[in-house]
């Protein structure tokens, strides 16, 4: 394998930055959407950035030990690595060094980092939040993994750039969402849970466990979690676009696609209350899993 160091370095720096900027706009969009649905005006354009800068500019910062700080570094590092391995228009050198499976497991690294840091704070609200977050992960990953298996069967590869190339060759009919609509639907539902949005928002639950993982997070610790939220929105939407919507031909269509993908769960979240933990698991193991299994059989029959 030949290494083009210059190109790699550029990707390493540019991709996370882009992801962060797009993620900020996505956060803004989510908050504006919420405001509009509640008939409010919503925050000003720069609000997500101001929030993060404000948190970083706090004079005092509470730390609960080295693990608390290291975990935030792991969280940011994992997120940055994840962005680099995503295939986006013009940048896919690193995407060739891993595949969909790598990316899915890489997505768990920041979660694990966050989990360790939150637990290091010695606050049971945080621990309960993490226990619930992991439970939710167990719940939504079952349908999600089935859709990934289905996609791997359909395209005959797990390499993300390959999947994009296959879809783009065939035009609109080649899109995953057209080829396997049931799997696309199941993935959309598990995406809602992956982003931790109602009705699956069990681990933040402000009225119940005091925002769970964020209970003891203050200042730049909380700011880093806000950054993580931006990255998360971006990553999940890019992954969905890659698997089902043909990836991005260029940045214009790509951005439209990922914003539409994010807008769906962000709208739905405002019209639901929250399930109980066991109800989340039961529901996700029942409906999306059933849909995904049917979809998988349809794919395998072909």
């Amino acid at each position: 394998m030949d290494f083009d160091w210059q190109h790699m370095l550029i990707e390493l720096l540019v991709m996370p930055t882009l992801a962060f900027v797009v993620g900020l706009v996505m956060v803004l969009m989510a908050r504006r959407l919420r405001a509009r649905i509640e008939r409010r005006v919503g925050p000003p354009f720069w609000q997500p950035l101001w929030d993060i800068l404000k948190l970083y500019s706090k004079r005092t910062q509470v730390s609960h030990g080295h693990m608390h700080e290291i975990s935030i570094i792991v969280l940011l590092g994992g997120m940055i690595a994840m962005e680099v391995f995503l295939p986006v228009p013009g940048f896919d050198t690193f995407a060739h060094h891993g595949d969909a499976l790598t990316l899915i497991y890489l997505m768990m690294v920041p979660t694990l980092g966050m989990a360790l840091g939150v637990s290091a704070c010695a606050n049971p609200n945080g621990s309960i939040g993490i226990a619930r977050a992991l439970t939710a992960m167990l719940a939504y990953d079952v349908p999600f993994i089935i859709t990934v298996a289905g996609a791997a069967m359909l395209y005959g590869t797990t390499s993300l750039p390959e999947i994009i190339a296959i879809q783009q060759q065939q035009g609109l009919e080649g899109w995953g969402a057209v080829q396997m609509p049931l799997l696309a639907l199941a993935a959309l539902i598990s995406m809602q849970a992956m982003l931790g949005k109602e009705p699956f928002e069990i681990y933040v639950a402000p009225a119940e466990i005091a925002t769970g993982p964020m209970t003891e997070m203050s200042g730049k610790f909380l700011g880093s979690m806000f950054i993580m939220q931006c990255f998360q929105l971006y990553t999940v939407s890019v992954l969905y676009t890659t698997l089902f919507l043909g990836g991005g031909e260029n940045w214009a269509t790509f951005l439209i696609k990922i914003f539409v993908v994010v807008a769906i769960p962000m709208t739905l979240t405002n019209i639901f209350p929250r399930y109980k933990t066991e109800a989340v698991v039961a529901w996700l193991w029942k409906w999306p899993t059933a849909i995904a299994l049917v979809g998988l059989f349809v794919v395998m029959m072909r």
Binding site: S63, G77, A120, I128, L138, T158, E162, E216, G219, S224
Partner: protein, 619 residues
């Protein structure tokens, strides 16, 4: 000294003798460490000779049977792991633990040496008779190792022994069957006879071997003995047993089922009604072996039990990978043997250290130890990431290979099953590290200190191996390829960082480097981006305005994953209890039936008939 199999066995048995004599001596641990290191060196030196097989000069004639030994690539691969695990366990026991942490260091050192010697003998078997002798020795050596803590351990070990003897009998029956049919026990004779055997014979062999070796692997449905037997063993003993002991069953299956019978033959065995073939059946059993024990582990309240249950579950990945039969799958399964041994040993050693300091491994009675035992924490962190199979540790690589092989072969449902096992593992290992090392430190643990170097040394060394073989899986794959080619599979195409396949690549060098670079950037943003942080007391914590005191337990450890367990808790009772109850009832009925037969019918006649039948078969 020319490295040869003789030298290896001489070292192993010499070590056993030495430990029998001097096991009580405080330097015994160091001595055995040196001897294990020497064995490891001999093994490494033997590597080039493996292609032709490293034969032993030792040969016996017993009742006309000739016994001889020879180490092939597969045995060598398992031997390396065995000796490595023994080395690190002995290191752990060499210092303070051997002096104060155990009731009898002598018992530990002797049983460890005996286990290693027995395993090497098994791994170097050249014919089915030596295989069987080695098998029995391993069973009994394992028993000796398990009983050393006494108390509940004795009961668990006894259970193991019953299973083990039953498995041994099944293996013996298979050996006798082969001898009668093939007319010889040498591997060459067996290999020559195998291709022509009938389907009925194949079924019989598969079932007998499956039961015999599957019991040692704790393969479903023979999994019930293992967790207790391993969990109750003292720290380093559990580390050794957990890391490698069960893999002897896998070795047996590999050599007989995969190597001699061959996966292709398994495809021919169709189940009567369902239309599935035997290989798929084995694979689904492996998948269930992954899932069910993993979710039982999730419920455990004792850290060692939790780990032991995971040991059972991880065994499923190995067999699943090998059964896929593609180069990637076989390599993945075998690599998982190595990877699993490294992190499972660390986990048991860390728990041994925690028990040594706190006196308990109960997950509700620990917490916050990270401030007191930071090195143990780091070792455990590396190991649980490995066990959970997340990057950047080695467990991820072998699991990725198994997943990929399953997808490539068009088995998506098995892939999903394997991933569900991984998800369950993530949940349960997080509970482990959270309840032991994170959260609130208890008052009674305030004075605890880190364990001495003799104990953290092996943990840290092994956890570095976990990381490095995750970063550069090519290093471990070099070893795996020796075993893989000797099993008769083509070698896998790999490079230092991973694989390039037509359907997706993995380059751990890139993944881990980017992860580390990302963490560097993250550290830059986080550390330079804001004001310096100030560390606060653990009781300076949000409690809704409540003033925390040490009298209040402010740690969530009991009934972790309450929400999940409210849903799946009842399933354990219905599904698992019934499954196990069914097996127990079946065994009971069989036992009672045969017992009744012996008692009521004419006992002497039956005995005579059995003896005559047995003799007729053998002669």
């Amino acid at each position: 000294m020319i490295p040869s199999l003789d030298l290896l066995l001489a070292l192993a048995f010499g070590n056993l003798g030495l430990m029998l004599l001097a096991g009580r001596n405080p330097t015994a641990g160091l001595l055995s460490m040196i001897l294990y290191a020497l064995q490891g060196w001999v093994l490494v030196m033997l590597m080039p000779a493996l292609a032709e097989g490293a034969a032993s000069g030792l040969a016996f004639q017993v009742f006309g049977w000739s016994l001889s030994w020879e180490l092939n690539g597969l045995g060598w691969f398992f031997a390396i792991i065995t000796v490595g695990a023994a080395f690190f366990s002995a290191w752990f026991a060499a210092g303070a633990w051997g002096v104060q942490g155990t009731r009898s260091p002598w018992a530990f050192h002797v049983t460890l040496a005996a286990n290693v010697a027995a395993m090497l003998l098994l791994l170097a078997s050249r014919d089915l008779l030596t295989l069987f002798i080695g098998w029995e020795l391993v069973t009994w050596a394992g028993y000796a190792m398990m009983i050393q803590s006494g108390g509940p351990a004795t009961r668990a070990a006894y259970k193991y022994l019953i299973y083990g003897v039953a498995g041994g009998l099944a293996v013996l029956a298979a050996v006798v069957l082969i001898q009668v049919q093939a007319g010889g026990l040498g591997f060459a004779a067996v290999a020559a006879w195998m291709p022509g055997i009938s389907t009925g014979m194949l079924w019989a062999l598969m079932l007998l071997l499956g039961v015999g070796f599957g019991i040692k692997m704790a393969f479903l449905p023979f999994h019930r003995w293992q967790a207790e037997a391993y969990g109750e063993s003292p720290g380093p003993a559990a580390a050794f047993l957990g890391a490698i002991s069960s893999r002897m069953g896998l070795f047996g299956l590999l050599i007989l089922l995969v190597h001699f019978i061959g996966l292709a033959r398994l495809d021919e065995l169709l189940l009567p009604l369902i239309g599935l073939d035997a290989r798929i059946l084995w694979m689904w059993l492996s998948a269930l072996t992954i899932i069910i024990p993993t979710f039982i582990a999730l419920k455990q309240n004792d850290a060692r039990m939790l780990l032991a249950w995971h040991g059972i579950g991880q065994g499923g990945y190995m067999l699943l990978g090998v059964l896929v039969g593609s180069e990637l799958g076989v390599a993945g399964g075998l690599l998982h043997v190595f990877n699993y041994a490294t992190y499972q040993a660390v986990l048991f050693l860390v728990m041994g250290a925690v028990v040594y300091r706190t006196g308990t491994a109960h997950l509700d009675r620990l917490g916050g130890l990270i401030t007191r035992m930071p090195l143990s924490y780091v070792a455990m962190l590396f190991a649980i990431i490995g066990l959970a199979g997340l990057p950047p540790m080695n467990g991820f690589v072998s699991k990725w290979m198994v997943y990929k092989a399953l997808l490539d072969e068009g088995l998506p449902l098995l892939f999903v099953a394997a991933v569900i096992g991984t998800l369950g593992t993530i949940l349960s290992v997080f509970k482990l590290i959270h309840n032991v090392f994170l959260g609130q430190l208890r008052v009674e643990h305030e004075q605890i200190r880190e364990v001495p170097f003799s104990m953290w040394g092996p943990m840290i060394a092994l956890s570095l191996i976990v990381f490095i073989t995750g970063y550069m899986p090519g290093l471990a794959l070099d070893l795996v390829m020796v075993a893989q080619t000797s099993l008769g599979f083509a070698a896998l195409d790999y490079h230092l960082g991973g694989f390039v396949t037509d359907t997706g690549n993995l380059n751990m060098l890139a993944v881990v480097s980017v992860l580390l670079l990302g963490m560097g950037i993250g550290a830059g943003i986080f550390l330079l981006g804001g004001n310096k942080s100030k560390r606060v007391h653990q009781l300076d914590n949000y409690a809704g305005g409540h003033f925390l005191t040490t009298e209040v337990r402010y740690h969530y450890s009991h009934h972790f994953y309450a929400g999940l367990l409210r849903l799946i808790g009842p399933w354990y009772i219905t599904l698992i209890k019934r499954l196990e109850g069914g097996i127990a009832a079946l065994t009971d009925t069989l036992a009672a039936g045969s017992d009744g037969l012996y008692r009521t019918a004419y006992t002497p006649i039956l005995m005579l008939a059995a003896t005559v039948l047995g003799l007729a078969l053998v002669l």
